[in-house]
Symmetry: C2
Subunit: 403 residues, 2 copies
């Protein structure tokens, strides 16, 4: 008998029919003998609707009140799913994030889980119940409701699985797994049957939309086995676990791209100690999330620093960088939002030289100019013009025979 | 400096504009020097929408899950109002029923308030905040969320006012006070400037729709001064307080009617001890709320018992009565849903003989047949055919010169 955490996202519980379909599926898992804990998101676009409502009412939108507001969405869906289970004669109980013991820090709207107490979850499991837990939310040590930010229910599911020692977390969503590339860009992209934790984390960080990157990080740190699968077709999806279990280790598993970033270049900076610390310290203070950072070797005592940040942070990031121009002695600060990041990821890459060369040769053959390069042991990312992004993904997907 | 509890119903906070208007009004009360605690309902028809959603998903609808579901409506409105206050620079904090210490029994969907702890409300007031409390909800001693049933936010407001020793509770709604009759039926009906607690309670029990009858009862028991007024025109409304303060004690204050009841007659019952106990015990067991009860003097050892119950309980009530027919030896059990109850209420009635005679004479002149009569010291109620109800209200309103 396995203990499995199921996660259902907004599209999986978007209406009454979908909620009943999910209840029915959970019932079948119970009959197979699984103990089931569910982490559930708000129905469909509920969170968006609540955010628009808040924007209509208020410009200040204090974080504590936003969290109370947004957390109501999961209370609705969890109560409805629990009722649908009751209709099927399946004992079930719903618990808010607070009741389930999801303890977070006090950073409203992007709280981090500090601890999962889970006593009421364990009691309800012991009593033979399916436990339906509100995703995306917790309670701070100061007893205020907090939310974990977009995609937070994935993290709730993985954190619950870790705390309960579950056999795995099954992340049910509107796609049937993790693909070798975005199927809208590469029609021959295929679903990956297995990934290692490290590969999934690199893919999520490089722009793969599901699951949420924090959940991937939590899964890797706490060694929680995942399965990403569809709540529409219910077919087997992508399993994520230890590297040694990944059969047929591919050199490259997937090509991932992301278009939501902009590049900032701080040019002609004197090559002296503390410049980067000053620059990135100022960005961190303003909550600007820096992704890639590239610094060239200095030439005549001066160097260029380029970095990418989310487009939505560009105004703040550019202003912060420009305000430091005199202080750090930079010649110029420029920005380009017309970029895309394309990454190839594969656990086999670290033991296979020549992967980078193939990437650069492939892009050169396509006349695609590379603006920035950044690597990890199992990932190579390049920044290209946005107009070249889809061609870059398609040519790399073909070059590494991922189709 | 007064401490005032404001209650805002669903229509008062139905959309973003209305929420901002309410915030603005609370701001003016603060500038006048009032300390303000708000009890707020869910926006507009939110509770209806959630109930329909539950009906779409589930036929069993367990009470615990229904309460979790329905309580989310007030979390949304309270967070939005608090944000709107923050925009105006007014320190404010929202509290759920549980956080505000509204402790109830465990009767889901119609819980009764046992105690209002209110420590967090007092702390927030002491810190200079407007405190926005979710109406309609509390927490059971078993730590589950409960709801108080329809109209529950009125009770939340009055219970908070009592617990905090507030100067009064102002019940803001979509009507501008309590009227001498329903203005849709009697166009000359006028707003009553003052009512005693006892009069208000009788009026609510007799069918006056606002405020909720449990709130009126709570106000009388705990001597909480009320003002019923409009959140659209903000004009002065109806004040409710001790009888001795009601200026110009009218013999009759208002005519109230109600059409949602049905009459059940258990005919030819042997006049012996315990028959009524058996009959009404059985109805109470089935949660049928009996309103008027009339038993005639017995004739030849047999009597008729008539009572009124809500139309929605008619099937259950009739079944319960018929199942006892043999046991209590009744000749027949009949029902009539085509009735209306018309009541006149006035604190001055008890010292003015002849009021009942005027009622019966007025209805006789109108050729309106009276099916049942029931009285209290300050109320006379009659049951008539539903088709005669409006004429009965109009003629009584004129006869007692209430226009």
């Amino acid at each position: 008998m396995a203990l499995v955490v199921h996660k259902y996202g907004g599209t999986s519980v978007a209406d009454a029919d979908r909620i009943r379909a999910v209840a029915d599926y959970i019932g079948r898992a119970r009959r197979r003998g699984d103990d089931v804990v569910v982490a559930i998101s708000a129905m469909g676009k509920t969170t968006d609707v609540l955010e628009r409502l808040a924007a209509d009412v208020s410009t200040s939108r204090p974080g504590r009140e936003m969290d109370l507001l947004l957390s109501s969405g999961e209370r609705i869906s969890m109560a409805l799913l629990t009722m649908a289970l009751a209709d099927l004669g399946i004992p079930a109980v719903s618990l808010t994030g607070s009741q389930a013991g999801i303890i977070t820090d006090a950073s409203h709207q992007r709280a981090r889980i500090l601890e999962v107490r889970g006593d009421r979850v364990r009691e309800a499991l012991a009593a033979g119940c399916v436990v339906v837990v509100a995703g995306f939310q917790g309670v701070s040590t100061g007893k205020d409701v907090t939310t974990l930010g977009r995609g937070g229910t994935d993290t709730t599911a993985v954190a619950l699985a870790a705390a309960l020692g579950a056999d795995r977390a099954e992340i049910y969503t509107d796609v049937s797994g993790v693909f070798s590339a975005d199927p809208r860009v590469v029609p021959s992209a295929r679903r990956l049957p297995h990934l290692s934790w490290a590969e999934l984390l690199e893919m999520c960080a490089a722009g793969c939309p599901k699951p949420d990157v924090r959940a991937a990080e939590f899964a890797r740190t706490h060694q929680v086995r995942l399965e990403i699968r569809s709540s529409f077709t219910w077919e087997p999806g992508t399993r994520v676990g230890p590297e040694e279990e990944v059969v047929e280790q591919a050199i490259v598993s997937a090509v991932v791209h992301e278009v939501g970033e902009a590049k900032v270049t701080v040019a002609g900076v004197p090559d002296r100690v503390g410049v980067s610390a000053t620059l990135f310290g100022a960005l961190a203070e303003r909550d600007v999330n820096v992704d890639m950072i590239v610094q060239n070797t200095s030439l005549e005592g001066r160097t260029d620093i380029s970095f990418t940040i989310p487009v939505r942070d560009l105004v703040v990031g550019l202003e912060a960088s420009r305000s430091l121009r005199a202080q750090i002695g930079a010649a110029d600060v420029t920005a380009d939002a017309d970029i895309a990041k394309v990454s190839i990821i594969g656990a086999g890459m670290k033991t296979n030289p020549g992967v980078a060369a193939t990437v650069f040769r492939t892009l050169a053959d396509e006349q695609i100019n590379i603006e920035m390069i950044s690597t990890s042991p199992i990932r190579i990312s390049v920044v290209v013009h946005q107009a070249d992004a889809e061609r870059a993904v398609q040519s790399l997907h073909a070059a590494f025979k991922l189709g």
